[in-house]
Every structure is written in structure tokens, then in C-alpha cells.
Symmetry: C2
Subunit: 121 residues, 2 copies
């Protein structure tokens, strides 16, 4: 029941595309991530996923279009929808995510960027 | 799958202590609220509740202490814990909340501030 300072917690995130868990709310986890470039196309069959942009601009690619999500904006990717988060022009983007604790990082896709452990910070 | 701009959505929230739902993530809802002054002592027996301060300073009172939650900070109130959100010096504070869609506004306490309907904005 202590306050969690997002900027302070972000200092502990030192690599791109590696989610770090800052707290849980019932069966959901709250995650911080720094991203840069393009991730991996994947879907989560049974879980929605919320992205809140804390810094920069997120380009959330879907198969038929790309959603531009700016600082101070949120997007929810519904379960089953293929998506690929990305950034442009070498920008590092900071994200706060909200998803079930059992959500697999890249769904059923295995990739060298796939993480199975999220450090708790 | 569109981006949700928090500042734009906050313009639709015109009264204090009245949560407005901006989206859902699985069985959780994402809420915006503007608060000022002191709320109602209550607990949610079966649901955790996350408060993310977007503007101002939240004073989250517990029975044994008060947590100060500043802009850019988060606090999670665990299920079953009595709490009373408040602000100081007449400041209006803007909050983003995450909680189960079936979480009762003031738990099992009935009060004139209790809302049973959260507008969808």
C-alpha cells in the first residue's frame, strides 16, 4: 500500500522489449516497458492487453492498419487480434501495460525477443 | 482498437467523485474520475483497486496512516482494506483507476456520493 513512482521504476528498466512487473491488481499485472523499433507479430488468444503510452509515440500495427498512440493515450488490443507494437525513427517509447498475469509475452509465437520472466521492480 | 486520449476524455467528466468508464480489459474496467475534498470510508471485500494520479496529489487515507500519491504515481488498495481517498487545500485531482467491472463504488457502504452507474465516455 505504498505509492509507486513510475519515473523512478523506469530507471530499473535497462533493455528494450523486456517487461518489468511493478504490481498486481487481482489477476492482472501492471508492467513497465521501454521499446524501440519493431517487435514480433503475435496475438493473445484469451487475454486483452492495455497499452498506456507514458513517453513517445507507439505505432500499433494491426494486419489491416496501424493505430498511432501518443503520449497520454491508451489503446486496448482485444484477445485474438494479431498486433505488432513498433516505434519510428529510432525513438525509445515508454509504456505502462495492464494484462492478465498469465499472458504470454508473444502469445504462441517463439522469438528471440520472447521473455518468459518479467523482473519485479 | 482506437487510441483513447485521456485529456480529451477528462473533458467529459464534469462532476467530482463520479467515475466514468473509458474502456474495459477482460473483466476489469478503466475509469477516469475527478475528485476534490474527502470521499467515503469503505472497502471492497473481493476486489483490489488501482489508482493512478494523472494530476495533483491524492491523499489515500487508511485507518493507521495516509499514503501520499503524487502525479505520475500509482497505489493499489488491496481487497478488504478500508480506505478513504481525499485531496487537500481544495485541489481537484484527476485519477485513472483499474478495477473489476463489478466493483461497487463504495463497497457495502451507502452514501449520498455513491454512484451505481458509471457513464461510458
Amino acid at each position: 500500500m505504498n505509492s509507486i513512482n513510475l519515473k523512478e521504476k523506469l530507471r530499473h528498466v535497462k533493455s528494450h522489449w523486456h517487461p518489468h512487473q511493478i504490481t498486481v491488481v487481482d489477476d492482472m499485472q501492471v508492467i513497465l516497458a521501454k521499446i524501440k523499433g519493431e517487435f514480433v507479430w503475435h496475438a493473445h488468444e484469451n487475454e486483452d492487453e492495455l497499452f498506456h503510452v507514458l513517453k513517445g509515440t507507439l505505432y500499433m500495427q494491426f494486419r489491416d492498419r496501424t493505430a498511432v498512440v501518443q503520449q497520454g493515450e491508451i489503446i486496448v488490443v482485444p484477445k485474438g487480434i494479431e498486433h505488432c507494437p513498433s516505434t519510428k525513427d529510432g525513438e525509445e517509447v515508454h509504456l505502462l501495460l495492464f494484462e492478465k498475469t498469465n499472458t504470454a509475452h508473444t502469445g504462441n509465437v517463439q522469438h528471440e525477443l520472447t521473455k518468459t520472466e518479467y523482473p519485479k521492480i
